[in-house]
């Protein structure tokens, strides 16, 4: 066990945990932020995606010891009032079905748009193919990302 300091959504959390514990469990079980989801535990499905210094990472395989001092953003911290263009577009296009994977989808898309405000279809496809959705919301995710790009411009 070790004392680990995490900066999540601008707040400092001091946790006494196994340094090997993946960030996902620190966020969920210790920081109490449950919007970030457990899906596979092997960094495959993307349900656990958060931002690390603005970059999308899969938190289920990332030990807390390596993220100390970095800025972590979860879905809860994406925008102060859930008004991120992607969140608006997700509602406009009625994307979620069960909703479980959607934090991972939105965080992945948000990191992409931050880096590249006008991604090509191919770039969107490459980024989003790392986040699985069993309900099959991909066609709407595609539309919503296109809409969010338009919303961001206006």
């Amino acid at each position: 066990m070790a004392s680990i300091q995490l900066r999540i959504n601008g707040g400092i959390h001091t946790l006494d945990v196994d340094p090997q514990m993946p960030l996902l469990w620190a966020i969920r079980d210790f920081a109490g932020l449950t919007g970030t989801k457990f899906g596979c535990g092997i960094g495959q499905c993307g349900a656990c995606t958060v931002h690390l210094d603005g970059v999308a990472v899969k938190s289920c395989t990332l030990p807390v010891s390596v993220v100390q001092g970095k800025s972590i953003t979860t879905i809860e911290g994406l925008s102060p009032d859930q008004s991120h263009p992607l969140q608006q577009a997700w509602i406009e296009e009625q994307v979620p079905q069960c909703g479980y994977c959607q934090s991972g989808q939105i965080m992945t898309a948000a990191a992409l748009l931050k880096k590249n405000p006008r991604p090509s279809d191919k770039e969107v496809s490459n980024a989003m193919s790392g986040v699985y959705c069993r309900c099959g919301t991909y066609p709407r995710i595609k539309k919503a990302i296109t809409k969010a790009i338009t919303l961001s411009k206006s």
Binding site: G41, W90, V95, C98, G99
Partner: protein, 711 residues
């Protein structure tokens, strides 16, 4: 948070002042739901409709939400008859209470289908009472009053809000058979409406079972024998207990279709500790002599069994004598693998067992089934069991069972604390119960005009309802999805029941997810053999079937079928009826980047009255995508174990594999059908038929291989 508190306050003050209109349904003796006035009946909770004196309308939705969208479509039906603006009401999940709500189980695309009329009556009864209250207030005949947008309006122009009427209305007796609206005047049903559960699913606030935390709770991770029905050999309990945060190691059991399955659980103060403890256990399993089974032995067994005549499950004319006479005989066999449900939210529950009482929190398709299970197994009175159902992170049939609840309840009793049990993905994917694997053998004789004279479809598979015991006769359950509506003069469906220790269960569309691949591929093979266009061939056999006939004609029109295919593409068609919904699907394929890929899926559907068209379209998209995933991947058994343990080996469909999906809903005034699954059965055969159209290669085995898909 402030908003919720305000609403709670309103509800409480409304209750206190009696200004609350409550109408509920209760199942009568015969099981038929009956409208009752719950206020008069002395029950002021568990209601469907409540209206505060401030006009705040709350509609209670009694069916758990797993992505199917009934969170909105059920209240839409209430709001339609109640005459309130659906976008200006609050929707809340109801309590799990079968004495008030009847079945709350969400399976088989049934919710809208089975609840449509009762919800209409509920809304209409409330509206009738409000109108009567207004008439009383104004001393005018009720016939001079009508309800509109949360108000009662008199011919003279006088109007009064529902909020001002609830106190009087709530004291009136609910009418048993209120007058329903003419469907022609529907303003909510049939209009795409935004789902109220969606905003919380974009900001992390939606609470799923896995997010529940209760005081004193321990987290449990679990390991089952990789060989199904294997026994616990040895394990290192002390090594697990040495892991920081681990507090307990306990053996437990679950029951799947009457069979007991052993497991070892590690419990701790957080889930990561429990996971680490599980690793340290180093369980040695005894495979119970079942380690010699693999996919090849199962297929060989099924092929051998296919030689049996089996049970006749459906019969028209005399297929056998046509076959004996001879003619152009066509024969083909199709194979499908086991599949896992893999909802994105791994299986999990929270259970707290206390003295003569129990509480459950979690994702379930069957809240009252959980209560029945806990009450029966532990002898706890039903009223002492509290069921808190949450949003589900997908279900697909897996969450209709209570096996995970059983393990958590047992663990809670053993450690005397609430337990949150989460199955790691590997357990979820390898432990089943699975979608059945299947061998389908089809034979047919074509007459000189190239029409089907006789057809036999033999299904060799396991049956969900008959997995153990001595009855070895196949039942009708296994022929789900075999279209019997084609006008074929002689047709027989046979079943040869297989019993294996590998458990199966309901998976989205159930047998409709296997049999149509064979049946609709075979119809295509026959069309080709007869030298006929596959869509026209189907039309010729559906001329007397009103719904299919209309759908096939519309499909031809919408897809420009008769103008021929676009250069470089192949087209395939398939049809199905599932839960009353009739679907015709056309898949267009193209060679792209070395592979044959589906580029466009067009589905023309007749679901009766469509309550929320956008939700139905979403369900078709989801069904196509889940079905396409099952075209590309399946489970393999090797040495008695499932080989594909996680998403790396069992990839569900990804974003970059998703075709364009277009859905056309035909207008209908028939009662609503179930639309949550019917898009799944046709994708595999329509895709395979399209590949044949493009390449001449007939694919009869799923999952398709890289070789099958090579451009």
């Amino acid at each position: 948070m402030k908003k919720i508190k305000r609403r709670e306050f309103i509800q409480l003050s409304a209750l206190a002042s009696g200004g609350l209109l409550v109408v509920g349904v209760a199942p009568s003796e015969g099981g038929e739901q009956k409208i009752v006035n719950l206020v008069n009946g002395g029950q002021s909770l568990n209601q469907f409709i409540s209206i505060g004196t401030d006009n705040h309308v709350i509609l209670y939705n009694h069916r758990p939400e797993m992505g199917q969208g009934t969170f909105e479509s059920m209240p839409m039906v209430l709001a339609e008859e109640l005459e309130v603006d659906i976008n200006n009401v609050e929707i809340r999940p109801s309590e799990a209470n079968e004495s008030l709500y009847g079945s709350q189980m969400v399976v088989g695309s049934r919710s809208v289908q089975s609840e449509f009329m009762i919800l209409r009556k509920m809304g209409a009864a409330a509206r009738t009472m409000l109108v009567a209250a207004a008439a009383q207030k104004w001393s005018v005949p009720e016939t001079e009053c009508s309800a509109k947008a949360g108000m009662v309006v008199h011919e003279s122009g006088m109007q009064v809000t529902y909020g001002e009427l609830v106190e009087t209305a709530s004291k009136m007796k609910a009418p048993e058979n209120p007058k329903l609206k003419d469907p022609k005047s529907f303003t909510i049903i049939g209009k795409s409406t935004r789902r109220q559960d969606i905003p919380v699913k974009t900001n992390g606030k939606a609470i799923f079972g896995i997010d529940v935390k209760v005081p004193g709770m321990k987290y449990a991770c679990i390991e089952h024998c990789p060989v199904w029905l294997g026994k616990i050999g040895s394990y290192d309990k002390n090594a697990a207990l040495k892991v920081p945060g681990v507090t307990h190691v306990e053996e437990t059991q679950r029951t799947v279709w009457g069979r007991k399955v052993d497991a070892v659980a590690v419990l701790g103060d957080n889930y990561w500790s429990a996971m680490q403890g599980k690793k340290a256990l180093n369980v040695q399993w005894d495979d119970n002599g079942l380690g010699g089974i693999n996919s090849a032995t199962i297929v060989n067994q099924f092929r051998e069994e296919a030689k049996k005549s089996g049970e006749v499950l459906h019969s028209v004319g005399d297929t056998e004598s046509v076959f004996q006479r001879g003619g152009t005989m066509v024969e083909a066999s199709y194979e499908l693998p086991y599949q896992a449900h893999v909802p994105m939210e791994p299986m999990n529950v929270v259970v707290n067992m206390t003295e003569n009482a129990a509480e459950f929190w979690g994702s379930t398709q069957h809240p009252n089934g959980v209560r029945t299970f806990l009450s029966t197994k532990y002898g706890i009175p039903r009223e002492n069991i509290r069921i808190n159902y949450t949003f589900m992170g997908g279900g697909f049939g897996r969450r209709s069972m209570t096996d995970v609840v059983e393990e958590a309840a047992d663990l809670s009793l053993k450690i005397n604390a609430p337990v949150k049990l989460i199955w790691p993905r590997e357990e979820d994917q390898t432990q089943g119960p699975f979608r059945n694997c299947s061998l389908n053998v089809c034979r047919a004789v074509l007459n000189s005009e190239g029409n089907i004279e006789a057809l036999e479809h033999k299904i060799v598979t396991q049956e969900i309802n008959n997995q153990t015991g001595d009855n070895n006769k196949a039942g009708r359950q296994i022929m789900g999805g075999v279209t019997t509506e084609y006008q074929i003069p002689n047709m027989t469906v046979r079943g040869v029941l297989q019993k294996l220790h590998i458990p199966i269960s309901y998976w989205r569309a159930v047998y409709h997810s296997t049999n149509p691949f064979a049946h609709e591929s075979f119809i295509d093979e026959l069309a080709f053999k007869a030298g006929k266009d596959p869509l026209e061939f189907r039309m010729s056999m559906m001329q007397n079937h009103e719904r299919y006939n209309r759908l096939l004609n519309e499909t031809a029109r919408i897809t420009n079928w008769r103008s021929g295919k676009r250069p470089g593409t192949g087209r395939g068609v398939a049809l199905v009826e599932r839960s009353g919904a009739h679907f015709v699907m056309v898949v267009e394929v193209q060679k792209k980047e070395g592979l044959i890929r589906p580029v466009k899926v067009t589905t023309v559907i007749d679901v009766g009255i469509c309550v929320n068209p956008d939700t139905v379209k979403a369900q078709v998209e989801g069904s196509v995508i889940m079905g396409l995933g099952a075209v590309y991947a399946g489970l393999t058994v090797n040495n008695g174990r499932i080989v594909e343990q996680n998403f790396d080996r069992y990839p569900i469909l990804k974003f970059n594999q998703c075709p364009e999906i277009e859905t056309h809903i035909l207008e209908s005034t028939n009662a609503p059908d179930g639309a949550g699954e019917a898009g799944l059965p046709t994708i595999a055969p329509a895709f395979a038929n399209a590949i044949f159209d493009l390449t001449g290669r007939r694919i009869r085995k799923l999952p398709m291989t890289q070789e099958d898909l090579k451009a």
